[in-house]
């Protein structure tokens, strides 16, 4: 089985989010990590490889330092890594990113593409589904369990209030949830090997069937005007009333706030 996993290097939001004076993210002030959903996707790919054999290729678009998450993937057990980097690609939104990834993947042979559900910096959950559109393959989002049976894949998809069990023919794309499983640790030997491995570095010239007008900042229909930290919700108001009085109280509040 040939699996491509698309990953992203993101700022670690655990230690708090830092901003530049102009309202954009100050990435240099935050630790860079592999996006957690992508890591779950990589773990899912490695488990499929453990079970069915095959090859796992990780791919990322980013600045040269994004190489770190590719080395980490290799140290976890991925076989090959591709870094797509070009100043022309900077400032990409989800459209330009998915166009870039599609242009790169058109060079490759694959049975399955896995992306994380969404990245913790942008939170859009758009790149995976867009990528499948560009490549004209089915997408199954929010995968919580994966089973491969011959040419078919069976996915348990998480939905708001239910699960969907979806069967699809390969090749297809799925977006991974962290519920897919706890990512394995790197191994010491894997780390040593990862730094001996060659990482393929591709630039614009390697992208197939993509117009310049669909790439980078120029090719991005959306632009972020300003980002800011979340305002924490207050603790709310607690009242201790019996059910009838509580209902009256809530209705009164809703009317007061023009919800009813």
């Amino acid at each position: 089985m040939k699996i491509i996993v698309c990953i992203k290097q993101v700022p670690d939001t655990k230690g708090g989010v830092k901003f530049n004076p102009d309202g954009t993210l100050d990435r240099s002030a935050m630790l860079a990590i592999m996006n957690p959903d992508d890591k779950a996707g990589l773990e899912a790919a490695l488990r499929l490889k453990d079970e069915h054999g095959g090859k796992v290729t990780v791919m990322t678009m980013g600045p040269p330092k994004a190489e770190a998450v590719l080395r980490e993937s290799l140290a976890m057990g991925a076989d090959e890594a591709v870094l797509i980097t070009d100043p022309l690609l900077g400032g990409a939104d989800t459209w330009a990113t998915s166009q870039t990834l599609a242009g790169a993947i058109r060079n490759m042979d694959y049975d399955l593409i896995i992306t994380g559900r969404q990245a913790i910096d942008g939170d859009t959950a758009q790149v995976g589904p867009q990528l499948s559109e560009h490549l004209n393959i089915p997408v199954i989002s929010y995968a919580e369990e994966i089973k491969v049976d011959g040419e078919e894949i069976i996915i348990k998809r998480q939905y708001d209030d239910r699960y969907h069990i979806i069967k699809a023919k390969l090749p297809c794309l799925l977006t991974a949830l962290s519920e897919l499983g706890k990512p394995r640790y790197m191994t010491p030997g894997g780390i040593f090997d990862a730094f001996k491995a060659d990482i393929e570095v591709w630039n614009r010239s390697k992208l197939i069937d993509v117009a310049d007008s669909d790439l980078g900042l120029k090719g991005s229909p959306t632009q972020i005007a300003k980002a800011s930290d979340k305002v924490r919700k207050g603790g709310g108001e607690k009242v201790n009333l019996d059910s009838a009085a509580a209902i009256d109280y809530i209705v009164e509040k809703l009317v007061e706030k023009n919800f009813a």
Binding site: R71, A75, M186, T187, I191, F192, F195
Partner: protein, 383 residues
């Protein structure tokens, strides 16, 4: 000459840190309190490759270097010194002698499962009357056909009962020199748990590293296949001493980890703890104590990493290993004692990890050669 870790070693450190924080920190206090050997995390360390860091890949290891191993023991010990010594005793004292002195068959049979972490290793040299004076051995091995018959007792054995494979030293001959002085000829053996005649005695109750299993090993007419002799007959003393050189790097790294862990915990604490209306970190006494502690931890770190580099690059590294172990263990004791002092009354309470760290530090000045033995080794190398 630069003192910057390679990218590989930096990534290794982050792996060990993540593992220690996620897997070990949540259980460290409880396993100390209950004196419970951490079987689940030991198994996970094995699966993650921590039990064969510098063993070559062809023998089931990770193919890294001694620095990768020292970093592992350091980072684990920052959070829990018990986990540090489990890895150290297994790797340095059991895998290492098989790698260096074992036959190809012994490596295939024993080293591969040890380095893969499928089996755990231990080392039995110390006896009731043979501690620092390793020549005082009384355990005997007598060749009988295709087997050696082992009789005697080993004490204070780390990973005892939990380990599957034991490197055991025993007297195989007594020879007299020209002046008639007798000398015990010691040999090393690989002994499997479960061999008839091999049993476990008392489990020691200890001051520190309480979750580490420390046992008495008892051999009563225990028959060992002749092919389990490790190295040549009569060469066991040299094997033990050379093995302990490597072991000292592990214990030095453990001591470094304990000291670094105590320093970190104390820096956090002094910024939070308020007295006389301000954080105690603002008092010059606190600052000067921390400055001394941090400087000594860094000096210990340099000695430990240098010893690890010497093991990789030199045939003999007894001097570097002894200096690292002597200094790092004394720094561990000093820094943890000061850490408790800076924590005040809270430092004496088991809720706070520095209390455990101070208890754990003491053994590093004792096992795998006391500080006094390290000084003997250093002096012998420089005079």
């Amino acid at each position: 000459m630069d003192f910057i870790l390679s990218k590989e070693h930096e990534m290794l450190r982050s792996l060990y840190q993540e593992f220690a924080e996620k897997e070990i920190k949540p259980i460290a206090r409880d396993i100390d309190e209950e004196e419970e050997f951490p079987q689940a995390t030991t198994k996970l360390m094995g699966q993650t490759g921590f039990l064969g860091t510098y063993i070559p890949k062809e023998y089931g290891g990770q193919g890294c270097d001694p620095l990768a191993y020292a970093l592992c023991v350091e980072e684990l010990s920052k959070v829990c010194a018990t986990h540090g010594v489990i890895v150290s005793a297994h790797t340095s004292l059991c895998c290492d002698p098989i790698l260096n002195y074992g036959t190809e068959e012994q490596k295939q049979k024993y080293l591969i499962p040890l380095a893969k972490g499928e089996k755990l290793g231990a080392f039995g040299l110390t006896e009731p009357n043979a501690g620092t004076d390793a020549q005082g051995q009384q355990t005997k091995a007598v060749l009988d056909g295709d087997e050696y018959i082992l009789n005697g007792t080993k004490i204070f054995i780390t990973n005892g009962k939990e380990a599957d494979i034991y490197i055991i030293f025993a007297v195989t001959d007594i020879v007299a020199d020209a002046r008639g002085r007798t000398k015990k000829m010691i040999s090393a053996f690989i002994v499997e748990k479960g061999t008839p005649g091999f049993s476990f005695g008392t489990k020691e109750k200890k001051m520190g590293i309480r979750a580490s299993a420390t046992y008495e090993l008892i051999f009563t007419d225990c028959r060992i296949p002749k092919e389990n002799l490790l190295g040549r007959e009569g060469k066991g003393f040299g094997i033990a001493m050379a093995t302990l050189d490597g072991g000292r790097i592990g214990i030095a790294a453990q001591a470094l980890g304990i000291a670094a862990g105590a320093l970190e915990a104390t820096i956090t604490y002094v910024k939070e703890r308020k007295q006389f209306g301000k954080a105690i970190a603002t008092f010059q006494n606190t600052q000067f104590m921390l400055a001394d502690m941090a400087t000594k931890v860094e000096a210990a770190r340099l000695l430990v990493y240098k010893a690890a580099a010497a093991k990789k690059n030199q045939k003999m590294y007894s001097l570097e290993a002894a200096m690292a172990k002597l200094y790092a263990s004394e720094v561990a004791m000093e820094v943890t004692t000061k850490a408790v002092q800076l924590h005040g009354g809270y430092g004496f309470i088991r809720e706070y990890e520095v209390e455990r760290m101070m208890r754990d530090a003491k053994i590093t000045e004792i096992y795998e050669g006391t500080s006094e033995v390290q000084k003997m080794v250093i002096a012998a190398n420089i005079i």
